[in-house]
């Protein structure tokens, strides 16, 4: 399948084999990555996807969510819904930009949330 338009970022893809920790240096253009397993029992359905996208939009960094060979814009509800990520699905979160170090842990927590209600407090 052809992936939905992935992301506005033109940053070079460093390859899926890049280690999770890339260092927090703002001068470093390579994205920070985390592997996240979906734990919501209903999967990444519309409400958690909407709240994740809303949270991602609060950061200036580019946010990309990968599922195997597909990559989508983490700030787009519609893009996230095309992942159809069931519970147990392994996703790779990639954050790239000046506030990436701050964004990664928060977005990781949101993507792994068991309930959309757990994402709400992260938005404040």
């Amino acid at each position: 399948m052809i992936a939905t338009e992935p992301t506005a970022s033109s940053a070079p893809d460093e390859g899926a084999g890049t280690p999770v920790e890339n260092g927090p240096s703002p001068a470093d253009k390579s994205p920070l990555r985390a592997t996240v397993v979906v734990r919501n029992p209903q999967g990444l359905h519309m409400r958690p996807a909407m709240m994740f996208a809303r949270l991602a939009t609060k950061f200036r960094s580019t946010v990309t969510v990968r599922r195997q060979d597909r990559a989508v814009n983490g700030k787009s509800l519609l893009n996230l819904m095309t992942l159809a990520a069931l519970p147990g699905t392994e996703l790779v979160l990639e954050v790239s930009g000046e506030d990436a170090a701050a964004a990664l842990p928060v977005l990781t927590q949101a993507l792994a949330a068991r309930s959309a209600d757990d994402i709400g407090p992260l938005l404040n």
Partner: protein, 156 residues
């Protein structure tokens, strides 16, 4: 889409002019098609409206996907209603909705629900599809389009 949309419940021209009215009209159409008992309609409508209260399911481009889970269904079911006039829905893009995909899923089957959402999002990316769908005036025309549209995720 043909796997979850119920042909006999399709509504080519919604009479309702409000979100609540449209949801009730579509749930009633599913009830008349045999998927709910009459006394269940209020509960299903209330559950869908409760979900809308947590955040509108109007995804933009004139499309909304109101939905809920409901115990006792044989499988995920859904229907589609068209409104030529448009219905206020608090959508993401503030536009009125003209195509309402209403889904009711089994609580223990998230997979079909996620795939249905994916399918609707993907077909909604096509202006051509949306324009042709909106031009349909009968249930048969709607069903023909639905039948001839492969579920995007099955191509994976």
């Amino acid at each position: 889409m043909k796997n979850f949309l119920v042909r006999d419940a399709l509504v080519p021209s919604l009479a309702a002019t409000t979100k609540e009215g449209a949801i009730r009209e579509l749930v009633t159409a599913l009830q008349r098609a045999g998927y709910f008992k009459q006394h269940e309609v209020d509960a299903v409508v209330a559950e869908i409206l409760r979900r809308e209260g947590l955040g509108s399911t109007g995804i933009g481009r004139g499309v909304a996907i109101p939905h809920s889970r409901y115990e006792g269904l044989p499988r995920l079911i859904g229907t589609l209603g068209l409104s030529k006039a448009g219905i206020p829905f608090d959508s993401i893009d503030n536009q009125d909705v003209r195509m309402i995909f209403l889904l009711v899923s089994r609580p223990d089957q998230p997979g079909p629900h996620l795939h249905a959402l994916e399918t609707i999002v993907r077909v909604s990316e096509s202006d051509e599809f949306l324009n042709r769908l909106l031009a349909a005036t009968t249930r048969d025309e709607m069903w023909e389009m639905i039948q001839n549209t492969p579920d995007p995720w099955t191509r994976e």
